[in-house]
């Protein structure tokens, strides 16, 4: 069973579109983790028929993903697809990604904005993303073409081992680190990304760096 995990925080404007897209492409098993939204994110997601989990308080995207992963595991997911709730990704990429992970025998697939010319990246963001890529390498020892992309496919074997402790956006790096630690095979695949707003700015990047440096462990 393939389960799509959608972390969402105050995404009432986008979540309906995201879920419609997923349903249109035939994905029925969808978990939306409403990360303490103040708007109608959860209500809209419920109306669309998704399984909705609600964090009572906002804990960050990493925390929401881990909650979604835990439910997916309990529901018996064989494969989980992490898919952002801000309508940046194209649901059509999921089928391609599942095919690629199947044929490559990898346990994890990372979406990338840089492998093919699929993503329209604002020039102002390019430098930050490229720096993030090298910072990610420094912390993980793995040089991915795109370090912080929310599109991700994880097989159950990997999902059972990965425990996201970074509540914020540093989870992207933490997941890569855990994949290296557990020697999981991974592949990258170009995915389309639409930019509605600028996600991580310089301040966000600095926060990620601090979260990784001051990682206090268990």
């Amino acid at each position: 069973m393939v389960i799509i995990v959608v972390p969402a925080y105050n995404e009432a404007k986008n979540i309906g579109r995201v879920l419609s897209g997923l349903l249109k492409h035939g994905w029925r098993e969808i978990i939306v983790v409403d990360d303490g939204s103040a708007d109608d994110t959860a209500i809209i997601a419920e109306r669309q028929g998704a399984r909705v989990l609600r964090h009572s308080v906002n804990r960050g995207q990493g925390a929401a993903l881990q909650t979604g992963h835990e439910l997916a595991l309990r529901l018996g997911a064989e494969v989980v697809v992490d898919f952002d709730g801000d309508d940046q990704f194209d649901p059509a990429d999921i089928a391609r990604a599942l095919e690629k992970i199947k044929t490559s025998s990898a346990s994890v697939l990372f979406g990338s904005r840089f492998m093919e010319v699929l993503a329209q990246i604002p020039k102002s963001k390019l430098l930050l993303l490229k720096s993030g890529r090298w910072a990610n390498y420094l912390f993980t020892g793995i040089l991915l073409s795109d370090a912080h992309n929310g599109f991700r496919v994880l097989k159950r074997k990997a999902l059972e081992k990965i425990n996201i402790r970074q509540d914020g956006m540093a989870h992207n790096t933490e997941i890569v680190r855990q994949i290296k630690k557990n020697n999981f095979k991974f592949v990258e695949m170009g995915v389309a990304v639409k930019y509605h707003r600028y996600g991580q700015g310089i301040v966000g990047g600095f926060k990620i760096l601090c979260d990784l440096i001051f990682d206090w462990g268990e």
Binding site: V33, G36, A42, E46, R51, V52, L53, R54, H55, S56, V57, R59, A63, Q66, T67, E70, L71, R74, L75, R165, D167, F214, W216
Partner: protein, 119 residues
């Protein structure tokens, strides 16, 4: 007595009273109570008898008593800052675990096999 001595002594005395009151309200463990009691009493002692710090400074090979106080205070402040950060991170992680557990529990309480539309 200099004005600064009076002001600092009064402040340390206030801190001391707070420690005693907190201890009486069961807000402090006995070990913490003794630590803070000694800490603030030492502060009062050093303020009222500044030559004590000079004497201690000489033992540690530092020129002036006030330098010794600054060094020790800075070391203590950094250590406490480290402890506070570690504690804050631990609390954040615990809040996350609690939030997650609540969300998952509610999910499985509503329908043990297929949790849907849960808060």
């Amino acid at each position: 007595m200099f004005i600064i001595q009076s002001v600092l002594s009064l402040f340390f005395l206030y801190a001391l009273v707070r420690v005693v009151l907190r201890f009486k309200q069961d807000g402090l463990s006995i070990v913490s109570f003794i630590f803070w009691l000694v800490f603030w009493l030492a502060g009062i002692g050093l303020v009222l008898l500044p030559e004590t710090s000079s004497y201690l400074a000489k033992i540690f090979g530092i020129g002036r008593g006030v330098d010794l106080i600054v060094y020790v205070s800075l070391a203590l402040l950094f250590f406490m800052q480290f402890r506070l950060m570690a504690e804050k991170e631990k609390l954040k992680k615990e809040i996350t675990l609690l939030t997650r557990q609540l969300a998952l529990d509610k999910a499985f309480k509503t329908d043990s096999s297929t949790p849907k539309n849960l808060e």
